[in-house]
Symmetry: none
Subunit: 398 residues, 2 copies
């Protein structure tokens, strides 16, 4: 079914509030983080709206941030994937051009036999990373422009831009993903990626030379060679003039990939809501990204995640003052603090609109949402549901 053929004209605005890593598990006998938090405003939305649980990718699959967000915006995250190299570029606001090949780099430690002893070079700090990146920036290749950018700790970004035409990203990781073995060769997986593999080989040879005197970080490992994916814009897919309010570069980058306007705002919720208010008249789809829920979950900080959720809850009235016809509150995946990382557990979701079929759920929490009126559904259907509740979809078939 081609959704575009069903799109209707409407002035109704849709607000997506994405609390990164929202879902959790009960590890302390007081419910999940969302259940332990005091959330009167979210509970009211849940009570007046419809709730459920979403699978970002599929049951049992733990999503990265790329797949998690693509699903929220209605793009099948298995059909479309954003490679690690591209996500790394998006994450530092590097302006990738179509055709660029990006890879995620690690500084690593090799022993005198050339075998990897530490894949992260002792997690050198970001200043040390910047110093080493500066040295690598001197590398010059014949036909290929090279960009090396520091990311954080031992991580950096490598971008290859061919001056003479298209190159491809079908190159194997050089990261062997274990120690006690040398880095792998950057093998081309197809003929059209051979030029890229050759350029990478040359880059690595020069990098080895440049880093040879270093004690900790005497080599680099590369993985996730990728190019910008070819994604239809939110406008073309759903007729939505989108705007992203996000404090972190990666989420801004994903939004930009989908043709949304990206407002640069501080990483704190207040700045995001200020920006939301300013952007409100000019857009019909607004995506507000809240990072702290994921960060505290990654830290393994149950109480910290509870506090982040409560902060979000306190901000809900400011958002509701804007009177969105449809508001969706959910996450891009779960990050239970007991696990200190992303997980596969389905994500609680609420939709609030005049056209909701209100269900029996009285509070916003995983246990309650498991019995909600939206059921358990792939996250990629949320955008269709939002369009429907906004009166933006016509009947399918006669």
């Amino acid at each position: 079914m081609d959704l575009v053929t069903l799109l209707a004209e409407s002035e109704a605005k849709i607000l997506f509030v994405i609390a990164d890593g929202l879902g959790g598990i009960d590890s302390e006998g007081r419910g999940t983080e969302l259940e332990a938090a005091r959330t009167p405003n979210l509970d009211r939305l849940a009570r007046q709206g419809a709730t459920g649980l979403t699978y970002p990718v599929a049951p049992g699959i733990t999503p990265g941030s790329g797949p998690g967000h693509l699903a929220l915006f209605g793009y099948d995250p298995v059909e479309h994937n954003i490679g690690r190299g591209v996500l790394t570029a998006l994450g530092i606001d590097f302006d990738l051009e179509p055709g660029d090949v990006a890879a995620r780099g690690n500084f690593c430690t090799l022993d005198t036999n050339g075998e990897v002893t530490d894949r992260r070079a002792g997690r050198i700090d970001s200043r040390e990373c910047a110093r080493l990146v500066k040295m690598l920036s001197d590398i010059r290749l014949d036909d290929t422009e090279i960009f090396v950018e520091p990311v954080k700790e031992h991580r950096f970004l490598l971008v290859l831009r061919n001056k003479k035409g298209a190159i491809s990203a079908g190159v194997d990781d050089t990261d062997p993903h274990r120690t006690g073995t040398p880095p792998r060769e950057p093998r081309a997986r197809d003929e059209k990626s051979q030029k890229t593999a050759d350029a990478v080989s040359e880059f690595l040879a020069q990098a080895r030379e440049i880093l040879t005197e270093e004690q900790q970080a005497n080599m680099v490992l590369l993985r996730g060679f990728a190019q910008l994916p070819d994604l239809a814009s939110l406008q073309d897919s759903y007729g939505l003039n989108g705007c992203a309010l996000a404090g972190y570069p990666m989420y801004r980058g994903i939004a930009r990939l989908l043709g949304m306007k990206v407002v640069d705002c501080g990483p704190d919720l207040d700045s995001e809501i200020d920006a939301l208010q300013s952007a409100w008249p000019h857009h019909d789809f607004l995506f507000l990204h809240f990072k702290d829920t994921d960060s505290r979950g990654e830290d393994g900080d149950f109480d910290g995640k509870v506090a982040a959720i409560e902060e979000l809850d306190r901000a809900i009235p400011r958002m509701m003052e804007l009177q969105p016809e449809v508001i969706v509150v959910t996450g891009d995946h779960s990050t239970p603090s007991a696990m200190g990382g992303h997980s596969w557990h389905p994500v609680p979701v609420l939709i609030h609109a005049n056209t909701c079929r209100v269900d029996a759920v009285e509070v916003f929490g995983e246990t309650a949402c498991a019995g909600g009126g939206l059921g358990h559904l792939p996250a990629k259907h949320l955008i269709t549901l939002a369009l429907a509740h906004a009166g933006r979809l016509r009947k399918y078939g006669a």
Copy 2:
């Protein structure tokens, strides 16, 4: 998405306890068989774990044992099917070779016009079947080796093994599936199955000759011509070193098809659990099959099925002594005793693991599981969920 690329090293063990035909309906005003049974151990697992309902094939579709089990092991039962002939062979431990064509046979009764009057020859008993099969075993064909094996009552197995190379199984049933009409011709559905059809025709001509003096069983009907399916092993699909504990041949056969080690054990639960204990250190995926729930359901014996479920419940503590990191308890389909056969009703499932998101469900039963945290999901996702809960899957995408 290729699940193999996400597999992580882990020592965690997964135990699948499959109570055949577990699901039921409430036909006596005291809940389903599972709900009427006293199951303190299963209830505890449900209370401490996550529950839901599974569709083995699709809503409304009643699965046979083949599709039901393929789904449990994560193989799409529509994409992959095990033909009736092959299942019949597996069910009597016949050692099918790749390339063999197997069919399910019925002895039947023809009248003097050659029309079928009884498709099951009055359900002759198994001894009579063995006597007739022995007669048919004398049949010899030119290029094709013939195996005829008794199954039960009027049913037998026919296997064709070509001595000179590959044959195909695209041959129509000769069983007309109704009386008052002659058996059908074994028509080849494609050119490469013509050799098989010719061999079957010759077999049938000789069978008719041999059986001509019989009163009841004077002919045979064949259906479900099939060859061993080409299925990736559990090891190749999921990195699991599997072991099957099953008292009945068909389930052993399906497990063997998927490359699991099959332990021959008695059909009683005690023998199976003895075998489970012995196999435990050597495998990371253990499949224990319990048949009685289905058998009593097929008998239409509500109380018998309740008793079988209670027997399984009493055995749970012995299984939990092995301390599986993940235990899944479910069925391959429903067999409501009120219906005396398989049904389409979704099957209750529980997963118990440290990494579960515990839901509100307090007892293991269909009504409670309908509101469980796993939702209602295709059974083929259970293996992915089990892998996730065992820490055997890495994140998808960056």
